[in-house]
């Protein structure tokens, strides 16, 4: 590549360069400015952003991706890439879980074997790349699918290993001396090791040589293949180590561990000044790049900004960094005096400041909008409900933080409407945040940020019971009221559960509906969400149980995944219809799947096949009216969100406490409370007759 020739640090033959050139050979100091500006911005807009606790929390969150980014640094320096590290995490997580639980091995042995698995996976990459001379991008794209696929195949997507011993969980959740997260004791030595290895040993420096020119390095006597083999094996090993920490952090080992981590790791390395063409990059730069991304995510969350901004800004930052780098290198490579270099650098700062100012304006503007909308609410505080509830002891507004399992899921979007309605009536501030797609690790991250920020109540729809309970207990210990809604955590980790329906209730209602439509006998199929979706797997368990108990003549012939994607549900249904021509009914048990199933049945022209399942009225309305969907099951999702916010608000006002048998919830009037569960009522069955009454 041509810029390899125009490397600035090759030009001077002095043995010692300026300290700044040695420390920041690729203008990594820019990142320092970016991080500083981010910190400054969030210290003003966020609550408790600039605290030691939050600083440690940020580092904890960056450990798993950080380990991947560390090994990605030499890989990118050699001009290679490894897309398989995230999938490797998934594979080694389930291997360890299986060894520990099913094979009964002790934890240290399981960890050692799993690290060996990582090594083996790395060796496969290495062999393909150095022996077969295949491009790393394609090899690791193949193993990216292969590793994740094996992990899913081994566990059939369902298996979820949990219940690890506290001493193991301490590795990912504990604090040494009460303040320092445990995993830092692995991460910091790892950083130091990589720094020493890449910058202080001839062995490590040889990777730079390989990145400049493989051919040249070979002539210079560097054993290129061996070096690359070692590096890709180490990559597998480190991905496994990251998986150990991930499992300890979340308390569960599942095949979806580390999904998408490889992209963040690559972004961090490139942001840190490494060239994707090879030959350039530093450990310090990688760490700074990583921090710039993680601080941005954490800061936006703490200031209550939409986290989508983090992705957008990271993308912008990424493009700007490489753009500046490219332009500055064009400037340097011209044989000119240092004056022009200076100009370029001033110009760089100009662009960067511009970006940061734009980001600041976005954040400020949305804050201003928020303040304005709150003021409007406060000014119009005349309705009866507001006078009743809004006046808290100190006259302050309650901050209620509410988390869905996935923000993009239409089901949760409809819950949000009710939640916002309630918050408006109560004059409370509602924070709505969560993972964009199902992601247990992200849920923990968001709760941590809320604890740091200091909210009055947290309401969570739990994706991973074991994983989140530790964090929720921590929140309770800090005096924050904790509610679970939609799906429960461990009982001692929350004050109340807003129970819309138990998994058993859902499973039984779905089965009964299917039985009614099919007349109690015949074949049917299920289109589920992803194969590893915890909720759906729980429902399927109860559906099977109900079938065995009450409907022995009904047969479940296939369960196919839709990954929450309407188009995939459509294609899978087409297959099912052809492979199992006797199927009389198809049940979609994920909101986006049901319209896909219905469309496929409609296009097949099979009027004898009916559709049922669990979905939202607005999505299904046309199909219900055409008679393709006979009926489907759900509760009023808006009411669920509404009730959750009312309960959270009453809890923080101390007007609702353990032992109460009912709660007043605005337009829902009085709602029954049994023990520590607030019951919304039974699942509702939507059909042709009643669907027009609903709009969500």
């Amino acid at each position: 590549m041509d810029e390899a020739i125009s490397q600035p640090q090759q030009v001077p033959l002095r043995t010692e360069q300026d300290w700044s050139a040695r420390l920041f050979p690729n203008n990594e100091w820019i990142l320092l400015i970016v991080i500083a500006v981010e910190c400054l911005l969030f210290a003003f807009t966020g609550n408790n952003f600039a605290t030691t606790g939050n600083a440690f929390e940020i580092t904890r969150l960056s450990v798993e991706i950080g380990l991947l980014a560390l090994i990605m640094t030499p890989i990118i320096i050699t001009g290679g890439i490894d897309l398989s590290v995230g999938s490797m995490m998934g594979l080694s997580a389930v291997v360890m879980g299986a060894l520990w639980r099913d094979a009964g091995l002790s934890m240290p042995v399981a960890i050692v074997i799993r690290l060996a698995v990582g090594l083996l996976g790395g060796a496969l990459n290495a062999a393909m790349i150095t022996k077969l001379k295949a491009p790393p991008l394609i090899v690791t794209l193949g193993t990216f699918s292969l590793f994740r696929g094996i992990a899913e195949g081994l566990t059939r997507g369902i298996e979820n290993y949990s219940g690890f011993s506290p001493s193991f969980l301490f590795l990912g959740q504990g604090y040494v001396g009460g303040v320092v997260p445990t995993q830092l004791f692995i991460f910091v030595p790892a950083i130091l090791f990589f720094w020493w290895w890449l910058h202080r040993t001839a062995f490590g420096r040889s990777y730079y040589a390989i990145g400049f020119s493989q051919e040249g390095s070979r002539y210079a006597g560097i054993k290129v293949r061996r070096r690359l083999n070692f590096m890709y094996c180490l990559s597998g090993l480190l991905a496994s180590l990251a998986a150990v920490i991930y499992v300890a952090h979340l308390g569960q080992a599942k095949s979806d561990a580390g999904t998408g981590y490889e992209l963040t790791a690559i972004a961090a390395v490139v942001l840190g000044g490494a060239s994707i063409f090879g030959g350039r990059g530093t450990v310090l730069g990688t760490i700074l790049g990583l921090l710039a991304i993680v601080v941005l995510q954490n800061g936006l969350r703490i200031s209550g900004q939409p986290t989508e901004l983090a992705g957008i800004l990271t993308g912008v930052l990424l493009v700007i960094t490489i753009l500046i780098d490219r332009l500055s290198r064009i400037g340097v490579s011209r044989i000119t005096v240092s004056e022009e270099e200076f100009e370029v650098k001033n110009w760089q700062i100009g662009v960067l400041s511009g970006v940061i100012i734009v980001a600041a304006v976005i954040v400020a503007a949305s804050n201003w909008m928020l303040v304005r909308s709150i003021k409007e609410q406060g000014g119009g505080a005349t309705s009866a409900t507001q006078r009743q509830n809004a006046v808290t002891p100190a006259g302050k507004k309650n901050v209620i933080a509410m988390m869905p399992k996935a923000k993009g899921d239409p089901y949760f979007i409809s819950c949000r409407k009710g939640a916002e309605e309630a918050a408006k009536e109560l004059g409370a501030e509602l924070l709505w945040d969560g993972p964009t797609d199902l992601d247990p690790a992200k849920q923990n991250e968001v709760v941590e940020a809320w604890i740091t920020r200091g909210v009055d109540a947290i309401a969570v729809s739990v994706e991973n019971k074991e994983g989140i309970s530790t964090v929720l207990r921590k929140a309770r210990a800090k005096g924050i009221k904790v509610i679970t809604w939609d799906a429960d955590s461990e009982k001692d980790a929350r004050d109340f559960l807003i129970n819309q329906a138990t998994p058993q209730g859902i499973g039984e209602t779905l089965t009964d509906e299917a039985a009614r439509i099919m007349g109690g006998k015949g074949e049917f199929a299920i289109i589920t969400a992803s194969l590893s979706a915890a909720n759906q797997n729980e429902w399927i368990k109860f559906i099977k149980q109900r079938l065995a108990e009450k409907y022995p003549e009904m047969k479940l012939v296939a369960t196919q995944p839709s990954d929450g994607d309407r188009d995939k549900a459509f294609a899978e249904t087409q297959n099912v219809l052809k492979v199992y021509p006797n199927v009389k009914l198809i049940m979609g048990i994920a909101a986006p799947a049901v319209p896909g199933v219905a469309e496929a049945v409609k296009q097949s022209g099979r009027t004898d096949v009916k559709v049922t399942g669990l979905s939202l009225p607005n999505m299904c309305k046309p199909y219900v009216k055409e008679g393709i969907i006979d009926s489907f099951v759900l509760w009023n999702t808006g009411d669920l969100g509404y009730l959750t916010v009312y309960a959270a608000n009453a809890l923080s006002n101390r007007s609702f406490k353990s032992g109460d048998t009912m709660i007043k919830a605005g337009r829902l009037n009085e709602i029954e409370v049994v023990g520590d569960e607030v019951r919304l009522g039974k699942p509702f069955i939507f059909n042709k007759g009643n669907i027009d009454n609903f709009d969500f």
Binding site: T130, P135, L141, G311, L323, D409, R566, D567, M619
Partner: protein
């Protein structure tokens, strides 16, 4: 004949794998070849094929585009929103193609003219477009589309034929011009050796720029043709589409380093990877293994390429193939 065997070596091995798969299915589950199933299979995979055509061009010039899945989602939602404003469908078609082309032009400017590494630029776009879309739509679906949206208002069977014909036409045009037009040959020239191409008077940055615009336009067409098969548009479609397309192109014999590959190969690659999922259901194999099998096929394609290459003893430099993917 020997030259044909040599030129299409990779395509032939991919076709052999596809044939083997089809033979196995034919023996165990002959109902797979029912006309209805083949029709569904083809219609379902046409959107992927269109993206893969663009991806072939991108890979031929030695670049890569991992932002197509996010662009696909943006174009799908845009198609729905535009149709709801009452715009006639042909105009919607053109507008969506333009939107795709614009997103492609952004990639093309940064990669072609500014010479930034394509994997990083498109990685940034992958995140940016997806998150921007989520921010704006908040995951909501576009519903209540006008009557003439689904199947262009022509009904299912005619609509499917229209989708098929548009895709076939685009495929034929690209396959022919890539082989026979000067413009097509310059794509190969730039991918083989950008410097040599420049000395031969080809404006390499311009070629890369236009290849990305075409990629974006094809994403737009693909998104629209996919959207009109349904009566609502999800806000979050196309996740992982980029990997599907890249895998199909590579399995079809294109070299990721640029300069080698054909659209016939890409067609075979799309057919092979698109058939596996359905074939597994017909064979009664658990869907859990689908991803693993896809990965294994990519690796097998690579390995067979090397094995065949060694047999022919093409005297290329050993290390040349291991250089950076960019």
């Amino acid at each position: 004949m020997a030259t044909i065997g040599k030129t299409y070596r990779r395509e032939i091995s991919a076709a052999a794998a596809l044939a083997a798969l089809l033979v196995i299915v034919a023996i165990i589950a002959p109902s797979f070849f029912a006309p209805g199933n083949l029709r569904d299979l083809i219609v379902n995979n046409l959107p992927t094929l269109l993206i893969a055509i663009g991806m072939t061009l991108v890979i031929l010039v030695g670049q890569i585009d991992i932002s197509v899945g996010s662009q696909f989602a943006v174009c799908s939602v845009a198609a729905g929103v535009l149709a709801k404003t009452g715009l006639p469908m042909p105009l919607v078609f053109v507008a969506v193609m333009l939107i795709g082309g614009l997103m492609g032009a952004l990639n093309g400017t940064l990669i072609g003219w500014m010479k930034l590494p394509s994997i990083i630029v498109t990685l940034a776009m992958l995140v940016m477009w997806r998150d921007a879309l989520r921010w704006i739509t908040e995951g909501a679906w576009v519903q209540g589309l006008p009557e003439n949206f689904q199947w262009f208002g022509l009904g299912q069977s005619t609509g499917e034929i229209v989708i098929f014909m548009i895709s076939l036409l685009l495929f034929a045009v690209f396959a022919w011009s890539l082989r026979n037009l000067i413009v097509g040959r310059t794509v190969y020239a730039v991918g083989s050796d950008a410097e040599a191409a420049r000395l031969a008077g080809i404006n390499s940055p311009n070629v890369v720029f236009w290849v990305f615009i075409i990629m974006g336009g094809l994403v737009g067409v693909s998104a629209l043709l996919n959207a009109i098969r349904f009566s609502a548009i999800p806000g979050n479609s196309g996740v992982g589409l980029e990997l599907k397309a890249i895998a199909a192109v590579v399995v079809g014999g294109a070299a990721i380093t640029g300069g080698r590959g054909t659209l016939i190969g890409t067609l075979i690659g799309v057919a092979l990877l698109g058939t596996i999922g359905t074939a597994l259901t017909f064979l009664g194999i658990n869907p859990f293994w689908e991803k693993a099998i896809q990965g294994a096929i990519i690796l097998a394609a690579l390995a067979s390429d090397v094995a065949l290459g060694r047999l022919e003893k093409n005297g290329r430099s050993d290390l040349a193939a291991t250089t950076s993917p960019a």
